[in-house]
Symmetry: C2
Subunit: 522 residues, 2 copies
Amino acid sequence: MAPTYIVFVGTFVHLPRSTPTALAIHQGALWVSTADGRIKGTDWTIITDRDLRVLLKEKGWIPEDAPRYKSGTRVSIVRAREEQNEFFFPGFIDTHIHAPQYPNNGLFGSTTLLDWLKQYTFPMEASFGSSLPNIPSPRAFRVYNQVVSRTLANGTTFASYFATIHVSATNLLATLCQKRGQRALIGRVCMDNPDFSPDYYIDPSTEDSITLNKEVISYIQSIDPKGTMIKPVITPRFALTCTPTAMRGLADLAASYSPPLHLQTHISENTQEIHDVHCQFPDAASYADVYDAYGLLTPRTILAHGVHLSPDEQDLIHDRGAKISHCPASNSALGSGICPVRILLDKGITVGLGTDISGGYSPSILEAVRQACLVSRLLRHVGPAPEGDEGRKLVLSVEEALYLATRGGAAVVNMEDDIGGFDIGMLWDAQMIHLGRFLPACRYDNGESRVDVFGWEEWGEKIHKWVWSGDDRNVKGVWVGGKLVYGRNDVEGGNRGGWWSWVLSAGVVGVGAVIAFRRLRL
Amino acid sequence: MAPTYIVFVGTFVHLPRSTPTALAIHQGALWVSTADGRIKGTDWTIITDRDLRVLLKEKGWIPEDAPRYKSGTRVSIVRAREEQNEFFFPGFIDTHIHAPQYPNNGLFGSTTLLDWLKQYTFPMEASFGSSLPNIPSPRAFRVYNQVVSRTLANGTTFASYFATIHVSATNLLATLCQKRGQRALIGRVCMDNPDFSPDYYIDPSTEDSITLNKEVISYIQSIDPKGTMIKPVITPRFALTCTPTAMRGLADLAASYSPPLHLQTHISENTQEIHDVHCQFPDAASYADVYDAYGLLTPRTILAHGVHLSPDEQDLIHDRGAKISHCPASNSALGSGICPVRILLDKGITVGLGTDISGGYSPSILEAVRQACLVSRLLRHVGPAPEGDEGRKLVLSVEEALYLATRGGAAVVNMEDDIGGFDIGMLWDAQMIHLGRFLPACRYDNGESRVDVFGWEEWGEKIHKWVWSGDDRNVKGVWVGGKLVYGRNDVEGGNRGGWWSWVLSAGVVGVGAVIAFRRLRL
């Protein structure tokens, strides 16, 4: 019988909404309704199995596999095993990722933004076109399926995707996210300015920039009318690729829906780009002012990068309530610079993390957490030396970077009341992390985990070790809205062994059967 | 019968000694003598199995498992499978790693060098002491074994280790490296200055700094008289922890051997450290001058970091022929700064890469390659903006960073004629990298590799993908001096299955035995 609740038992780690600088670490039980996928209650006094049995009895809950004649509310139980250093953590939120660029991960040579776009990016994105109307290209299916797989396997429960200019491929990405159970914003990229966009990869006309977008919006709203899992996001690529008419039209398009649609674009990533924007829009006071002039700076706008924003631009973005997606791996890989996150946060700007595939080289937000920490430690060496202890203030702690990866990202996509933490009433978008017991990395088997927990570490230290050495091998299960959407081995808490135990059992049964058969003939 | 040669067949990638900016990619066969572990020949015309059979026939070689009555020189064949995107690459050389700090990987919070040493590092290193003379602590065995395992599993065939001040634990590290087959320099750390060294972790006296070192040297030379695998390295920690008498005594000690011993220490990592060195040695012109004054700058000296060296210091280091170990992960993690590698290289200084565990958070030199690329791309934003295209010149390409990880490291440890590349006559210190075929990362199994090769990539692009997304999962086999010292699955080219096939076989045999036994009783 289908369970009414899922009871998660073990260690829960998240960042409290009010204190981004400290981990909240709880041990006990937390339960989620299978009807709406939301957290209904917690009990941090549950330590032993006996405690859990008492809780079940008090609540009138029985395990889902209890005999049929037993009456009570059925619950499923999922454990994070203490002795295996397992814990639950909120799902990661990737606020900026280009799905079609995934095959180019790691391919950027020594280029910087503008030549990288022309040499690597535009040709790859253009290849997602299809010669058949309404039928996406095989490449789109192959690549988009892999992107969703890889991001889920890295614990990303929400992604704000840039697709390509192609309607059918963009619709396919939306379908895949819905089917695979990853929350997403899906954006058809708009680029209609022939001064920068290449002739082989450009919207047919400025008008098409708007109408093709409407097709995508209408498709997404048809398959998910309430926007529970996927929503459209209006996506002008960036100021250089878009005409003023298109930018204004796209802003109006977003505002014409109720509630207004999200918007996403790039801003102030690279110094040459900024220079070119000033040349193309000589009347605008700044790069941010270009977007503001056409109505693109709204409380539902995600601006990727913001590396070189002037104080005035930062103030403007704050005034308009627009958000920043910080993509440190990409900013380092393309030599763009270091976004001064601390300064943005101190101004009250909302910041989340993005992988920026394939300017960034990794689909992992955990890698973005690491890179956010690293570059913040280098900021003191950038530009004029900060006075006194100012350099230290620019540093993001591991805890703050994890906050950006969860609560921060949730606020960037305006879902801070629903995802990013383990507060009662929030959606269970979460991952189970498995660090494992210390096992000597013997010569022929070291593949389980890169994280070595020696046994004397406290929970806070284990979290730091996870951040600095962890990877997808440590992601044991991923849930979105209470549903398991990715899982390895016995994540559902049962007694199943690994696949090899099935092979072994099958072997034993097979041999037994052969021998029994031969005995019968005797 | 033991083979005379090992014939490696497949794709070979290395950096030519003369051109650090381009990969050399060869397809064919390369053979290594099992007697001395050196590369004896290559044939880049071998493409098909038939070509290989012709080569064997021409050379009078027969496979090692050919019937006994067959005559000929026995050879073993190891293949890197083209369809699995496998290739051979020189083993990585880690020119700076603190073995005892390994359990602290990822634990540094938001500290910088000097408080990190006191808060995390000295307490951990001190715990390697033993209450029993000549018996190393259990922790030393556990940690050192894990360090050698993890570094080998990441393709490191040579490591220059800092140990602790403890003789027996340092000797144990030497033994482990020899037994496990990792080439190494092993250094007992010397620190006798009570002004900086803590009272719980300091050499008993300045004289002991020298005599305890002699014990270690004598032990290492007793177990490896020719220094084929392991050699001692004189290791004054850094200027602040050592008295002038100790530094002079250690320099003399190194020079008293024939050939002179290697030396290793730290230099110019952090601005506060540099300031403190100036205060402690007011008569010295610079940090480098301190070491030079006591005879520590030699052609066999490895200087870790060199982040903030003045042009004069760079010239002095170049004049003395000392080498630099660039540790980018550590320099970013501790906020030390960015070492201007291009400037050092242009001056003719020899540079290699180091993990600097646990200032660095990863035992992987591949991670150091990535970080070297990343920070070089940020250099243009550090200090005064470089004019014109100067910023671009500071960038290290993927190829140059791989050169530092192999040829560069080899030159840092004065073994440029023996390791770091695939030239004829060099030692076969190498790794086999397995990228794998493209497999959709389906929901319940994505563990094999993080590198997605879609099939249209050229070899150069595959190498870039490996650098940016690869990890220990891609290291399929590691050889040192022609001997396999780490291997996963069927790396030797035979038909062995994984460990589970042994479990299965054992299960089948066991069940068969039980049933046979019961039948006999009938």
